[in-house]
Amino acid sequence: MRTRLLYATLAVIASIWVLVPIYLLAVSAFGGPETINAWPKSLLPERVSTETLAFFFGVRGVWNAILNSILVAALTMVMSILLGAPAGYALARFVFPGKDGYRLLVLLTRAFPIAILALPLTVRFIEIGIYDTPLAVALVHTALALPFAILVSSSLFMGVPKELEEAAWTLGCTRFQAFRKVVWPLARPGIAATMIFAFVVSWNEVFAASVLTLRERTLTAFLLTSLNESPLHFRFAGGLFLIVPALIFIFAVRRYLFSMWGIANR
């Protein structure tokens, strides 16, 4: 009984460690400029005002950055699943020469730092005229998210028994029909989670977004490059705004966390 209480206490402490900093950031962001400078601090919000947030959204470029972030993340999501799902299906269902080599390449891509991709691409993107566009950032983010999309969708498709597909073939389906009628409906929730995951990867990425943009900033790039000029409460509001969608997304994909990180890392 006593050990169980100990375990529960430890678990609660760990949860506090995770949650309290986020909570305090929210207090700082909603408290208005006075809260930032208040001394000593109170743990409860002394006043709730939208002043800081209003100020944040009022800064020139913020809305544009948010829209760019959403656009980049959406593009990343679509591209990584369009490229990744077919490859995942091939890995899940076929035995073919070169399969191991391909797998290795995909795993390898995850071992390389983003800096080494983003820097040379800056030059190329300037040359072909897509530098400083959401598409350019989305392309690099897709390179980041694609390995995940491939490995996770492959494990999702492996989770759909092959016999279901074979049964569909014997009952009159072409390969494509069997995929559409049987495999796709069963893998769809997992695919959705994978897409959300790609969205978050892109939404959170800082380095490439900062290097590849000048005026068409994403939110992370905007916040990073304006750190020196911006007041504290602006940064807090921006940080909070970055966190909130991520929280929702992680909640939405929590059932698939293990297939994403656990299995995909094998």
Binding site: P161, E166, A167, W169, T170, L171, P185, L186
Partner: protein, 352 residues
């Protein structure tokens, strides 16, 4: 409904030879069981007929149509899988209707009638609106059978359909399957490793071993006259006994303490195959196989005893009331009309 002809099928997976050169013919409306231990190639052969696997060479015919180059959907077959493979995201009705809809077999109304007919056949008509996730294993297997029968295939293929069910349910389903399939009279190939299942269902059994068909015959004929040592050992529980036999004169062989009449034109050493129930206890005096009793298993309907005879084990099935105890000596004689002879080199039967 049509006959199936398989000619010279060969299949390898990498270095593993799954099927050496298999040929067989299943008559129209016949129920054939492919029986063998795991790895013998029975499932591979079934999947080649279904079109789920491509043979390295050879032909498959259904009726007058050569089908081995066609995709599964064009073969006019239906298949029941070991793990049922019913679609979890569809209702029972949609599962059974799936093949009909994909093949555009008539209007929704006609499809509904066919689905109802098939569902009634397997007694699942009250579950049509349920999702298959809500069903038990036995019910799912019924759905799988109904789904296969609904498309009225020329050939029905079944891959160990009962092996995922528990023992009691398996017995029940086995009896029911037999009734249903007789009613439909569809040419059927059924794969199993369970010899009792094979014996009770099949018109003919093909015993497969090491990628080859060793014997293809009616259950009783295989039981009475196994073509190879393997067939004799695989069919029957307990399996056939094999005893070393030495020629003493043309047509005369000595087995243990017995001299028996054997084949005239055979080698000096043979194996005598004799079923446990074809051994009879003899009263003291006459020549007999004398062994010491090791284990006695009273099974109620009869009795099983394991004897040691010249360093070999011998199984005997006898009357349940026989007073037998471990350590005693039991004297047995085989029934003269049940002696089966095998060549130890080729492992094949020698006809006398």
């Amino acid at each position: 409904m049509a006959r199936i002809l398989v000619r010279d099928i060969k299949k390898t997976f990498g270095k593993f030879v799954a099927l050496k050169s298999v040929s067989m013919e299943v008559a129209d409306g016949e129920f054939t069981v492919l029986l063998g231990p795991s790895g013998c190639g029975k499932t591979t052969l079934l999947r080649i007929i279904a079109g789920l696997e491509t043979a390295d060479r050879g032909e498959v015919w259904i009726g007058e149509r050569r089908i081995d180059r066609l995709p599964p959907r064009a073969r006019n077959i239906a298949m029941v899988f070991q793990n049922y493979a019913v679609f979890p995201h569809m209702t029972v009705f949609d599962n059974i209707a799936f093949g009909l809809r994909m093949q555009k077999r008539g209007s929704e109304e006609e499809i509904r009638r066919t689905v109802e007919w098939a569902a009634e056949l397997v007694h699942i008509e009250s579950q049509l609106e349920k999702y298959t996730g809500q069903l038990s294993g036995g019910q799912r297997q019924r759905v799988a059978v109904a789904r296969a029968l609904a498309v009225r295939p020329q050939v029905l293929l079944m891959d160990e359909p009962l092996s995922n069910l528990d023992a009691l349910l398996r017995l029940e389903m086995r009896a029911e399957l037999k009734t249903i399939l007789r009613e439909c009279a569809t040419t059927t190939i059924y794969v199993t490793h369970d010899q009792v299942e094979a014996m009770s269902l099949a018109d003919r059994i093909a015993i497969m071993h090491g990628g080859e068909i060793e014997q293809y015959d009616t259950p009783l004929e295989i039981y009475r006259n196994p073509a190879t040592l393997f067939c004799g050992g695989f069919i029957g529980s307990p399996p056939m006994n094999f005893l070393e036999a030495e020629r003493v004169a043309p047509g005369r062989y000595r087995v243990g303490g017995l001299e028996l009449e054997g084949p005239r034109d055979a080698g000096p050493k043979l194996l005598l195959g004799i079923r446990p129930e074809d051994l009879e206890p003899v009263a003291d005096g006459g020549a007999a196989l004398a062994g010491s009793v090791l284990v006695v298993e009273p099974l109620g309907s009869h009795l099983l005893a394991t004897l040691r005879l010249d360093g070999r084990l011998l199984r005997f099935a006898g009357d349940a009331d026989l007073p037998l105890h471990p350590g005693e000596t039991l004297r047995l004689r085989p029934r003269a009309d049940r002696l089966r002879w095998f060549d130890p080199e080729s492992e094949r039967a020698v006809r006398s």
